[in-house]
C-alpha cells in the first residue's frame, strides 16, 4: 500500500485518538477542579462563568404569563403569586436569550475548524495531527482566538449579549421583588430599606466632611490640620 493510501486509512484512527485524548484532557480538568475545591476553590469557583445551558423555548409562554401577571390587581390578594409568575416569565425569557446568545457565540468555532484544517493541509500534514502536539495546538488556539475575537466585535454578538444581560437583569429584578414581598410579610427589612439606609449614611458623611473641610479652611496651615479618621 502506498503512503498516500496509508494516510487515508489512518486519518480516522488519528481523529479517534484525538477525540479520546481530548476526552482525557477534559476528565483531567475535572479532576483538577475537584482538587481545587479543597484548596484554592473558594475564589476559583467564584470566577467560573455560567455555562450556557439548553435551548429555552416559550416566548409565547412568557408573554402569556406576563399578560396574566400584569392583569387587574385585587389589592394585595395573590400579590406574591403574581410576583412569582412574573419571575418565572422572566426566567423563561432569560433562557431564550441565553439560547440566542449561545447560537451567536458558538458560530466562530465552525469557521475556526475550517481554517485549522486548511492550515494543516497546507503544511502537508493533512487532517492527521502533526507530530508536535504543542505546535499543532498552538495553531488551533491562535486561529480560534482570532475567530472568537472577530465574532465578539460583530453587531450580532454585541446585540445578543446585550439582550442576555437585559433579560438576566430583569429576572434578577423580579426575583428581588419576590424576596422583598416575602421579607415585608415577615416584617424583615428589605434590600430597598438597606439601600435607603446606606444612602442616608453616605449623604450624612458628606455633610459632616464638608463641615470638617470648612473648619479646616479657616486653619492657615493645612499641613497641621487634623481630620476625623
Amino acid at each position: 500500500m502506498s503512503e498516500k493510501d496509508t494516510s487515508s486509512v489512518n486519518a480516522p484512527d488519528a481523529a479517534l485518538e484525538w477525540a479520546k485524548l481530548w476526552q482525557t484532557m477534559a476528565e483531567s480538568s475535572n479532576r483538577i477542579v475537584e482538587a481545587w475545591s479543597g484548596s484554592m476553590a473558594p475564589f476559583v469557583l467564584a470566577r467560573l462563568s455560567e455555562r450556557p445551558g439548553g435551548f429555552g423555548d416559550g416566548n409565547e409562554i412568557s408573554a402569556a404569563i406576563e399578560r396574566m401577571a400584569q392583569g387587574p390587581r385585587l389589592a394585595d390578594v395573590w400579590d406574591i403569586d403574581r410576583k412569582m409568575a412574573l419571575a418565572f416569565g422572566a426566567w423563561i425569557e432569560m433562557r431564550q436569550r441565553l439560547a440566542s446568545y449561545s447560537a451567536v457565540a458558538s458560530a466562530p468555532w465552525a469557521e475556526a475548524s475550517k481554517r485549522f484544517l486548511a492550515a494543516m493541509s497546507a503544511t502537508g500534514a493533512g487532517p492527521a495531527p502533526d507530530s508536535n502536539w504543542r505546535e499543532t495546538f498552538a495553531k488551533w488556539s491562535e486561529i480560534s482566538n482570532e475567530e472568537l475575537i472577530r465574532n465578539q466585535r460583530t453587531d450580532s454578538f454585541l446585540q445578543a449579549q446585550k439582550e442576555l444581560l437585559q433579560a438576566g437583569l430583569q429576572l434578577r429584578s423580579r426575583q428581588d421583588d419576590v424576596a422583598e414581598a416575602v421579607a415585608a410579610m415577615l416584617g424583615q427589612p428589605t434590600r430597598k430599606d438597606f439601600d435607603e439606609v446606606t444612602r442616608q449614611l453616605t449623604e450624612l458623611r458628606r455633610e459632616v466632611r464638608a463641615l470638617e473641610r470648612l473648619v479646616q479652611a479657616q486653619n492657615p496651615d493645612p499641613r497641621h490640620a487634623e481630620r476625623a479618621e
Partner: protein, 373 residues
C-alpha cells in the same frame, strides 16, 4: 511503519505525557493551600483608615533618593496587589529599592454598603484626605501621585482639581480618551470600549440598581472574554508548561489569586465610569464634573509622566496618549513600553523597565524641585 503512522504515534505519546503532567499538576494544586499563595507582601504600616479605605506607608528599603512622597493609587477594578505580586515582580518593591518614599491608598473591598459612593467621593474625599495626611506627616506641601489604570483617572482628576497639592503626576496604563480605541487597528485591543458602548445607558443603570454595585465577577467575565482561548486553556493545557517548575507554578497561582480578588465596584461610581467616561467620553471633552467642578485637564500644571503598554488590550495606547495635548503643564513625558496591561507590571521581561523609568523621571524632577527650593 509509514511516515503518517509515525506522526500519529508520536502525537499519541506526546499527549499521554502531557496528560501525565496534568495529573501531576492536579496533585500539586491539591497540596497547595490558600495561605501558601501570598501576594502584596511588601511590609507596610497602616497610617489612616477612612470608611473602608486605608492609607499605608511602605517601610523604606534603601536610602532616600527622592524628597517628595509618592502616593500610589490603583483603580476600583482589581486591587493594588498587581503592583506587588511577588518579591521579584513588584513595582512597589522596585521603587522602594530605588529610594522612593512610597505610600499606598487601598480601597478595600467595596460592597453594597458603598453603593452610593461616587468618583467625586474617591477623588475629593478619600484621595484628598490621604494627600493631606501625607502632607501632615511628612511636612511636604505637595505629593507625587502615581496612578494605575482607573486610579490614574482618579489622580488625573485630582491633579486638575487640586494642583496646589500635586508635585508630580505619574500615570500608568491610564485611559484619558475613552473613544480613541477606534484608532487602534489591532483586533484584540479595545473590546471593553466597544462592549460598553454597545450597552444602553439604561442597562448600566439597571445593572447597578439591581446589584447595588458593578459586580466583580461580572467584570471578570468581561475580561475573560477579551482573551478567549487563554481563558479556556489556562486551567488545563497551559498547566503543562508550569507543572515541572515550582517557581512558575507558584507565579501562576499568585496571578490567579490576584485575578480572583476582584472587588465589586461601588455602584454610583460605576455609573460615572461606564456612562460618563466610557460612553460619553466626558473627561477628554472637559465636561466631566466632580463635586460641582468641571475637570479641566488644562489645569494640570505639575510635570506629568505618562507610561502605557504598547500591547494593552484593555486600555489601547491611543486612549492614554491623548493626555499630552490636553494638559497645561509644559513638562510632559511619554514612555511607551512593550507588553500588555498586566504584563507591564508582572511579566519577567518588563521587570525593571517600568520602575527604572519612573524612578529616573522622578529623581530628575525632585532634584529640580530641591534646587529651586
Amino acid at each position: 511503519m509509514s511516515n503518517q503512522e509515525n506522526k500519529a504515534s508520536r502525537f499519541v505519546r506526546d499527549m499521554a505525557a502531557n496528560t501525565e503532567k496534568m495529573l501531576r499538576a492536579t496533585e500539586l494544586i491539591a497540596r497547595t493551600r490558600d495561605e501558601d499563595v501570598n501576594i502584596g507582601t511588601t511590609p507596610k504600616r497602616l497610617v489612616m483608615r477612612r470608611d473602608k479605605v486605608e492609607l499605608f506607608h511602605y517601610e523604606p528599603m534603601a536610602e532616600a533618593t527622592a524628597r517628595t512622597p509618592v502616593l500610589l493609587a490603583y483603580g476600583l477594578i482589581g486591587r493594588y496587589t498587581m503592583a506587588d505580586l511577588q518579591p521579584d515582580r513588584s513595582l512597589v518593591r522596585s521603587l522602594l529599592s530605588k529610594g522612593l518614599d512610597l505610600w499606598l491608598i487601598d480601597w478595600g473591598q467595596p460592597g453594597r454598603t458603598e453603593r452610593w459612593l461616587t468618583i467625586d467621593d474617591y477623588v475629593d474625599d478619600y484621595i484628598d484626605a490621604a494627600v493631606d495626611r501625607i502632607r501632615r506627616d511628612t511636612g511636604h506641601d505637595r505629593v507625587t501621585l502615581l496612578g494605575i489604570c482607573e486610579g490614574g483617572v482618579f489622580t488625573t482628576c485630582y491633579a486638575a482639581l487640586h494642583p496646589e497639592k500635586v508635585q508630580n503626576l505619574v500615570l500608568t496604563i491610564t485611559p484619558i480618551d475613552f473613544h480613541a480605541d477606534v484608532k487602534d487597528e489591532a483586533a484584540h485591543h479595545g473590546f471593553l470600549n466597544i462592549w460598553t458602548r454597545s450597552l444602553d445607558p439604561e442597562d448600566i443603570d439597571k445593572l447597578v440598581d439591581t446589584y447595588g454595585v458593578l459586580p466583580g465577577e461580572f467584570m471578570s467575565s468581561v475580561f475573560s472574554m477579551m482573551t478567549p482561548m487563554r481563558s479556556l486553556t489556562k486551567y488545563n493545557v497551559d498547566l503543562i508548561d508550569v507543572v515541572d517548575d515550582e517557581a512558575k507554578f507558584m507565579n501562576f497561582l499568585r496571578m490567579e489569586k490576584w485575578l480572583a480578588d476582584r472587588p465589586h465596584h461601588p455602584g454610583e461610581a460605576a455609573k460615572q465610569w461606564l456612562k460618563e467616561l466610557y460612553q460619553e467620553n466626558r473627561l477628554v471633552h472637559g465636561n466631566f464634573v466632580l463635586s460641582g467642578r468641571s475637570v479641566d485637564l488644562g489645569s494640570i500644571t505639575a510635570p506629568v509622566l505618562n507610561v502605557f503598554a504598547l500591547d494593552d488590550h484593555i486600555i489601547p495606547p491611543d486612549c492614554s496618549r491623548t493626555l499630552g495635548a490636553k494638559i497645561g503643564s509644559n513638562d510632559y513625558t511619554e514612555i511607551p513600553l512593550p507588553g500588555g496591561h498586566v504584563g507591564l507590571f508582572v511579566s519577567s521581561k518588563s521587570q525593571g523597565k517600568l520602575s527604572q523609568s519612573i524612578a529616573d523621571w522622578l529623581l530628575a524632577r525632585d532634584a529640580t524641585f530641591a534646587s529651586k527650593a
